[in-house]
Structure formats: C-alpha cells, structure tokens
C-alpha cells in the first residue's frame, strides 16, 4: 500500500473510532471467554464437590448444565462479535474508504 494513502487513512477520525471500538470490544469479549473457561477449569481443579452437587432431587449435577453453558456461551459471544463487526465496524470501514478515495 502506498504510504501517503496509509497516512491519510491513519489520520481519518473514523479510522481512530473503528480501531478503538473494535480493539476494546475484542478484548472485552476475549476476557469474558477466558473468565468463563478458566473459571470452569479452576472450579474443576479446586472445588470438585460444588460441581458434583445435585441440582434437585434427581441425579443431574450443577456441573452438567454449567459445562454445556460454557460451550453455548462460547458460541454466543462469537456471534455477538460477528454481528457487530459485520454491521457497525464494516460500515465504519466503508465510510473511511469513501472518505479517502474521493
């Protein structure tokens, strides 16, 4: 890429906005994913009885829905990111492209 085009984009206010928004959103969601996963692993490592505790009168334990919830949560946060990126972030990108290309 030509350097002057890159400089032009880099100084575009929308580019700064895109960069800031996407980076912080990405990091927050990554943090959420890591807390869910390492939280679960730490429970397995340090508090096995809690996970083996029965939910009600049956045999199902807390660990079962919790484990499945970690899987479902992982899928959900992935799509949350994609939804926002494919609408808001891509719209910003398009505005930047239009702005510098004219």
């Amino acid at each position: 890429m030509e350097t002057d085009l890159a400089t032009k984009i880099a100084s575009h206010p929308k580019y700064q906005e895109l960069k800031a928004k996407r980076t912080s959103f990405g990091w927050w969601l990554s943090l959420a994913g890591m807390i869910a996963y390492y939280g679960f692993i730490l429970l397995v490592a340090f508090n096995k009885p809690l996970l083996a505790q029965k939910l009600g009168t049956g045999v199902t334990t807390i660990g079962m829905p919790l484990g499945v919830a970690v899987i479902v949560f992982t899928i959900i946060i992935t799509w949350i990111y994609i939804r926002r990126a494919n609408s808001e972030f891509d719209a910003l990108t398009e505005q930047i492209v239009k702005g510098v290309m004219k």
């Binding site: 895109l18 083996a52 049956g58 660990g63 990126a85 990108t93 492209v97």
Partner: protein
Amino acid sequence: MKFDNNRARTLARFLAVAAIAAVGAAAYGAGADLGQAQKQATNWTAIGMFAIFVIATLGITKWAAARTKSAADFYTAGGGITGFQNGLAIAGDYMSAASFLGISGLVFANGFDGLIFSIGWLVGWPVITFLMAERLRNLGKFTFADVAGYRFSQTPIRVFAASGSLVVVAFYMIAQMVGAGQLIKLLFGMDYLYAEILVGSIMMIYVLFGGMTATTWVQIIKACMLLGGATFMALAVLIQFGFSPEAMFTKAVEVHSKKEAIMGPGALIKDPVSAISVGMALMFGTAGLPHILMRFFTVPNAKEARKSVGWATTWIGYFYILTFIIGFGAITNLIPNPANYFVGGEISKGLVGGGNMAAVHLAGAVGGNWFLGFISAVAFATILAVVAGLTLSGASAVSHDLYASVWRHGRVDQAQELRVSKMTTVALGVIAVVLGIAFEKENVAYMVMLAFVIAASANFPVLFMSVLWKGTTTKGAVTGGFVGLLTAVTLTVLSPSVWVAVMKNPAGSAWFPYDSAAIFSIPAAFITIWLVSLLDRSARGDQDRAGFPAQQVRSETGIGAAGASGH
C-alpha cells in the same frame, strides 16, 4: 500382530474397566489418542461405504482440478469459498477421529470428565474470532507467514514461520497416520499397513490435483457426514428417554460401575497447574495451527472470514455436545447388553475393540449394521480430510515461504512455485507414510498435544505480537518464536508423557512434572519477543517499527488486501 493381540488381551483381563478410564485420562493430557488397537473381523459394509466416499471425493477432485490453475487456486481455492462453507471446512479440519471416538469413549468411561475435555478444544475459537480472523484475512495471501512477516525482513521471519509450520504439521501428521493405522484394524478389520498406503495415496491425489478446492470440499463433505451421523445417534439416544437428560443420567448412574461419580469431575484434572497449562495450549494453540490459519485466506474478505469462525465455532461446539450425549448413550445402551459389546460378554473385560469403540458400538445398537458401517467409514474418512489439510499447509510453507521468498527472494513465477508445491506434496505424502509405518509400535499419545503446545508457544505469539504490537521487530519476533519452539519441545521431552511413557524412564523421574509445557513456554516466547524487540537498536528494527502504522491500516480496514483472485 500376534504379540499385540496377546498383550492387549492380557491387559484387558487385568485392567478391566479401569483401563478404559486410564486411557481416557492419558488421552486428556495427550489430546485424544487412539492407542494400540486389536484387528477386528473384516467389516465389508464399512469398507464399501468408505469406497463410496473415496469415489465421490475423487470425482470432486477431478472437477476441482479443472479449476486449479494458478498458485492462488492451489493455495486458497482462488479465495472463492463462502464464510458458511469455510466454517464447515474448518470444522471438518478440526473435528478429528480421535476427538469423536476419543471423547465419546472418555464420556463412556468417566462421564463428566469428557465434558471438561470437549470444552478445552472449543474455547480457542472466540480468541481467533476477536483478535485474529479478520486481521489475518486482511494481511495475508497464502500462508500465515505472509501475516507474521508483513513488515519484517523476509528471510528470517519466513524461515521461522516455515519451521514452526512444518514442526507442527509433522507431529500432528504422525499422530493422524498412526491413528489411521489403528482405526483401520478396528473399523475395517484390515492391516495397519493398508491404512498408511490408503491415506497417503488418496490424500496425495486430493492435494496434488485438486489443491485447496478439493481439500475444502473433502472437509465439507466429511464435516456434514460426521455431524449428520452424530446428530442421528444423539437423537436416537434422546428419544429413548423422551428427550429428558435427567432420565438418561438416571439410567446411566444406575448401570455404570462408577455410579454417581460419573456425574461430577473425577481424576482427569490432577493438579491446577496442569489443568491451566493444558487449557492454554488448547486455547492458544488453535490460533497457531498452520492448516487452520491457512483456511482464512480461502474467503474473499474480512466479513466472510468472521462468518467462517462463527460457523466453525457453532458446528464444533454442537459436535462436542453430541459426543457427550453419545457417550452417555453408550453407557445406557451397551452396559445393559454385555453379551453383544463386551469382551467375552463380561463388562469387566472392557468393550470389544477397546474404549474408543463406544461410539461405534452405539451406532450398531441404534442404527443396525449399515449405520455402524457408515459411522466407521466416516471416522476413517475424517483422518483423510485432516491429513490433506495438513499436507497442503506443509507444502505451502515449503513452496511459498522457503522456496519463493527465502530461496528466490520473491523472484519466481507462479508456475515454478506451483511446481515446487506439488513436488513438496508428493514428498510430504511419502514422508507421512514412512513416519506412519515407523511409529506403528510407538507411543504417540503426546504428539497432538505437542503440536498444540508448539503452535501456542511459537506461531501464535509471533503472529499476535507482529499484528498487534507496534514495537515488535524482526529480531524480536524470530528470537522469541524460536525460544517458544525450543522451550515447548524441551519441556515436553522432559515431561512424564515422553520421559516416562516413551523413553521408559522410571515413573516419577520426569524433570518437568506437568502435562503441558504451555504455561511456561507461551510466556517465554512473549517475554522474549518483547524484550529483544525493546533492546533492538538496529536499523532494521527501526524500519520494522516504522512499518507498523501502514500494516495496521491494512489489518483494520482491509484496504489493499489481496482480493478474491489473489492478485
């Protein structure tokens, strides 16, 4: 063969169901391994189904070959794969036979512990989505070295990236090839050697003639077959219990020898350090696997790259939930009928064919012989698809990174580069077969885990720091990457899974006590990259840092990114 049979029988006699549990526990540290298997009776239905799969995929390869002309076609299917298709292909690349048979076998033996395992294999995907996927697509063209070395001095970074890729591919490949040999004995009742030659030669045809287009479609078809088959099995199990998990769990607790212990965490997680270390290897290793990273260049733009990971995560997560249900289904369906599924009709002697056969026996129980044949064929086809993806990424590392960039300094035409790719593909195919045969009797349980640890400690830190930190320099990235690679390999050799299990040193004598090196080797790589870059006062270092803003503009916006045609 004879020796193996006898040994396996004696083992089964002595260790009973506990043996399955131990295999399961070892598989966790190892990243699912199929172990040594006994040859079963020849299963013509399974062989026939597999033959149909091979004929169909060879037909696709013929179609793909007509469309594979340029280097871009070969490496990335011309960038014309949609996000949804690519998501399925990534899932097809990632869901291995070991994870299907291994995890369901683990659930069959230990219940809840299998779930911990599945989750670990899934959680790397969001990280890829949030931090890597679209930036990879925007910066890269054919290999992840295009991304990692975007602003760096080409020769050193490409040498590093190609080493990282090839080492990961080699370990992953050996595990797959040995797994194929064990599986063919179990599922088709054929000899180990046939598996090596079949997988090696069919995979070579896919890659050689159909390049990425054929490989992608093989992976998509395999993913659909695996997901379809697993869905049918899970539904068949759930219907038995009126779709009530509670009813299924109640029955499982009633019939399983471990009773209520299968409902909570067992012995799988020994110490917290190993637990977190294995978790880190799985989480960050996924983001450093060259054959997975390469898939992001097959889609036309960042939007589709994001969708790819979204669909991949969805399918893989769904698949792991299915394997969990299948594992419990195996408990409730197989244990009450020991005469049909256990050695000598006695539960204490273990499943016929071993603990990894839980899903296969369940397929027979709920769908009859034809369905059993289908699942067996799918499990074997799975290895084929994974090996094809690995070979393609290995070939591109050699031809695009080493030959075109390092050896010829970019002064090379497409036809020459393509010729080198194809020669490398043949070489890798032969090497895969030779290694598969050489490692037949070896314990390869640690290899998939090692591949993940290296990917997490060498490829991932370099990729991450070069894309996201402006201060990274060539010297820092290359030094840190090699430090991560060496730390990962050294600590793994000194850990129980190699030091004791492979090198036969006495138990407890391992220098490094944990299951995975990742908790040390990942920080080692990051700190080295940071420190060396910081202290780098060379002119090249200044140039590297100065190149960051332009790289960032392209990684964030995709302006100037390689288009759908690759040129």
